[in-house]
Symmetry: C2
Subunit: 543 residues, 2 copies
């Protein structure tokens, strides 16, 4: 496992290894132009021309504890840690004008070094932004100093241990392990974490825990917060560690306080997770439902019968249609799908990807149970091809976003959840809000949605929305559309985030989410654990 | 549903309806005498002769908000709320000498009235002990005023609403609903909560949430904390309510802060839970494992194959033997069991009760999968009779304790959990600690244990221990034995409680459980939500 710097791993202005690109076909481009109007292509600025504030001097104390080799202050080091991968982050990066950047990237090699850095920063008034994969899409790693003299990005890439307990099927993982690194380390023991969010290729274990990440197979393996059995965090007030027992009834859950704390209370240095035997078989299929509401009823039936496939992803009509067009499925293949559906007296409809993982017998048994429910609720089987296509493209969303931005489009996602009884109400309300807000911003758009995390009592809603970008007013456009959607979510009783976390973007809505007393409770915790407020300023809690 | 006062529902000095008694047969008595030595029977004091501190006067403010009819100060009202149902509570009750009692029992009829009471108490310096079923076995409802002028028991028996969302399969429940009341209300909709702890007959929904209760079918339905989707709590600082969505990634979990808070932060006034269709079939069976270690390996195999029966309860050799003797299984029947086991080349061994609940097809399918694993790991099937016997007696533990105390025995339970890799180590260590401590207290005893909550990564350990009581020094004897066990649990890395909660008894071990920084975090939370520290003094947090 390499300790490559972020700039070697991932494009500083987008997603994926430098050089790797997802090209859209001419048909996709034509479809977008037809739906959204002609857009003006853009290109990212040159790396060396990106302007950002000069590095402020750091107290000498800081380097003393860990060696100056691990305190980097060059343009090349600072730039890739100057933001996450949200739309506004990428806009700023591509335009080459950053209003903030970390004054140094500090790379501790042990929990002890993390502690020394935190103590030095607390003593000298330097803000600390914990930095894992840097994949936040909600401004979670934006390098703000708050009221402090400087801010460092605390890059955790050197903390990558993996200790397996093969009897208890748990693993103690370092926060800096990226998704593929954690899986590779576990694969040596024939184990898997089974946590595959869209950000899998770059996001880290520490980030999964700090943001309550949910993977695409959450129904089977559990969300990341459900996988964590114990966690250790270093706070400016000292170490916080929970017992590695399967459960405790000893009071309010400190584990559940640390999970989701997004770096504002301290730095997660150790995460113990439940792991599983690596599945010998993964079987993904496509089914189709006549409408999103009917598809959601199918998923509800699966969930309430404890028969959810490990992967369960229902796209609405628009996402089904647009995804097919964008994925480069040829006109001929689309026509073939059309005939297939016609045979089954369906036209259009909503794609439902389902998948089971495990040993062959287990997969077949569970597939049989799910399939009966799928059929009895009106879903029609398309077969393995759409499932395999989904699996090939399961991590491609952010590559696609880069291309859309290159083409001159605004593209953003947001996610929420609600109970089944209010699910369609929330779906409709957010769609209308996004439609209205994009139009109000001068460019009518496409709103797509899918359900990808289902529970007995409800499910998530994940919206993707695209329109022409307002050249020169990209951030204002984004902010207006985002605000309209969030206000509608709050008004309808949904949660402001199902698995992207709060970061900077959702912080203004935390009062609606947890109430005034809840907010004061979180602030009291922050004051106790981080009394000089050096940890990740501006995130999670509203200013 | 009646609003019966505690004294009408349950013996003030023990368990069960006044008049209901579990009689032990002569063989059981003989076995105990043989094992533990002859004990001197005791009887509870007469109700009217129990001495307790006179009721301190309460500020007039208190009654003003809710009507004086709901503020009771008679001996009859105060006595049943003067403690929970732990061994030391019962010793004090039976001896008729209480060193503390609530100065009044206050019975609000709405959340609004709860709020008025809290505000009045905070303004006038009166401690509030939330009182549900009063079934705490860890001193969780002991009526201490702390540094305040008086203490009230806040009896929640009038808060018993039940609103079902049949689409989302959730129910919003009042905290005062006792287990059977909640089940009866849900049964009208053909639903069940499926939460059946041993205290089911008397414990309440608010108590389940406040203490992280775990039911006997936790593997199937989930622990209570896993069933809760949203919760509302009134704190002296104001209301705290979490969103009723299936999941949120918006920061640290406030729901998980309220759950397990044991009344020290506020009063839980509403609990929304996931419910299920009532099962049409419940099938319980007995199996036998050669040893506790082999049986635990069987349970581990079931858990790690996702094949845990809904009820999974493994007794060690001693519990198997003693339970058979105490349950009044006749010598003839025991001999029959002996022959049966001999036929299968077993003698003695560890009883494993397994049970499946659901519709007939589901039960058979899951039973088939579990049974293959049971057999392949060496367990031997005894059939339905032991399962049915367990089901008949599943709530009898506390009745049996009353009888043992009548006979002059010390009897106590405690529970912990650990990962599978350290499970046997913890089992052996706690057994030795209990054995040694009972002997050091002058009366060698019986130590029994069972596993009743299993997870992929580990399981709970539930110890029951009996010896002759030290007449006149019952509390000292209890304290010494309890301390020895808790110190051993802490030294071995187990949790101080898996599902009984912390209360007063475990509070001294909270520093070991959550660490110094964890304790300060909990204290900061308490200071924020309960600034005058009126809520349940002396519980959860060490003094």
């Amino acid at each position: 496992m390499s300790e490559a710097a972020p700039s070697e791993l991932i494009k500083w202005w987008g997603w994926g290894a430098p050089g790797k690109r997802l090209k859209l076909g001419p048909e996709a481009g034509a479809m977008l132009s037809e739906r959204l109007g002609e857009a003006e292509p853009t290109q990212p600025a040159a790396f060396e021309e990106v302007s950002m504030p000069a590095a402020r001097p750091l107290p000498e104390l800081l380097a003393r504890g860990i060696g100056s080799a691990n305190v980097a202050t060059s343009h090349e080091d600072r730039l890739p840690c100057a933001g996450g991968k949200g739309y506004p982050d990428l806009v700023r990066m591509r335009q080459g004008r950053l209003d903030a950047a970390p004054d140094a990237v500090v790379t501790p090699g042990s929990a002890d070094e993390v502690n020394r850095i935190l103590q030095a920063c607390a003593a000298t008034g330097v803000a600390v932004v914990p930095f894992g994969g840097g994949t936040s899409v909600v401004g979670g790693v934006d390098p703000y100093a708050g009221s402090h003299r400087a801010a460092i990005a605390l890059d955790l890439r050197r903390l990558r241990h993996c200790e397996v307990d093969p009897i208890s099927l748990t693993a103690r993982l370092g926060p800096g392990l990226r998704g593929p690194e954690a899986e590779a380390a576990l694969a040596e023991h024939d184990l898997t974490l089974g946590h595959f969010p869209q950000s899998f290729e770059y996001a880290t274990v520490g980030g999964f825990a700090a943001t309550r990440s949910a993977g695409q197979a959450s129904a089977g393996y559990g969300r990341f917060d459900e996988l964590v059995t114990a966690v250790e965090m270093l706070t400016p007030a000292g170490p916080l560690a929970t017992l590695a027992t399967p459960h405790t009834a000893a009071g309010p859950s400190l584990r559940e306080l640390i999970i989701g704390s997004e770096g504002v209370l301290g730095v997660i240095t150790d995460v113990t997770v439940r792991v599983r035997r690596a599945p010998s078989q993964r079987r993904y299929e496509g089914w189709i439902s006549s409408e999103f509401e009917a598809g959601a009823e199918t998923v509800r039936a699966l969930a309430q019968a404890d028969a959810l496939p490990d992967v369960t992803r229902l796209s609405d009509d628009e996402e089904t249609r647009v995804s097919l067009a964008l994925s480069g499925v040829s006109g001929a293949k689309q026509a073939l799908l059309g005939s297939y559906l016609k045979l089954r007296r369906r036209s259009g409809g909503c794609m439902l990807i389902v998948g089971w993982e495990g040993d062959a017998e287990e997969v077949e048994r569970r597939r049989g149970i799910s399939s009966r429910i799928l059929r009895s609720t009106g879903a029609v089987k398309l077969g393995g091809a759409p499932g395999r296509a989904w699996n090939r493209g399961r991590f491609e969303g952010p590559y696609l976003r880069d291309e859309l931005m290159n083409m001159g489009y605004f593209v953003e996602t947001l996610e929420t959840s609600h109970t089944w009884s209010r699910y369609q109400e929330l779906y409709g309300a957010v769609r209308r809000a996004l439609d209205g807000a994009m139009t109000a911003q001068g460019a009518p758009g496409i709103v797509m949605c899918h359900l990808s995390h289902a529970y007995r009592d409800g499910a998530s809603l994940y919206f993707t929305f695209i329109s022409r970008s307002r050249r020169g007013a990209e951030i204002e456009q984004w902010r207006a559309i985002k605000r309209a959607a969030c206000e509608m979510i709050v008004a309808t009783g949904g949660t402001i985030t199902h698995h992207h976390a709060v970061g900077r973007d959702h912080a203004p809505f935390m009062r609606d989410e947890v109430g005034a007393v809840g907010l004061e409770a979180l602030r009291a915790l922050k004051d106790q654990l981080d009394p000089t407020a050096i940890m990740n300023p501006g995130k999670l809690l509203p200013g």
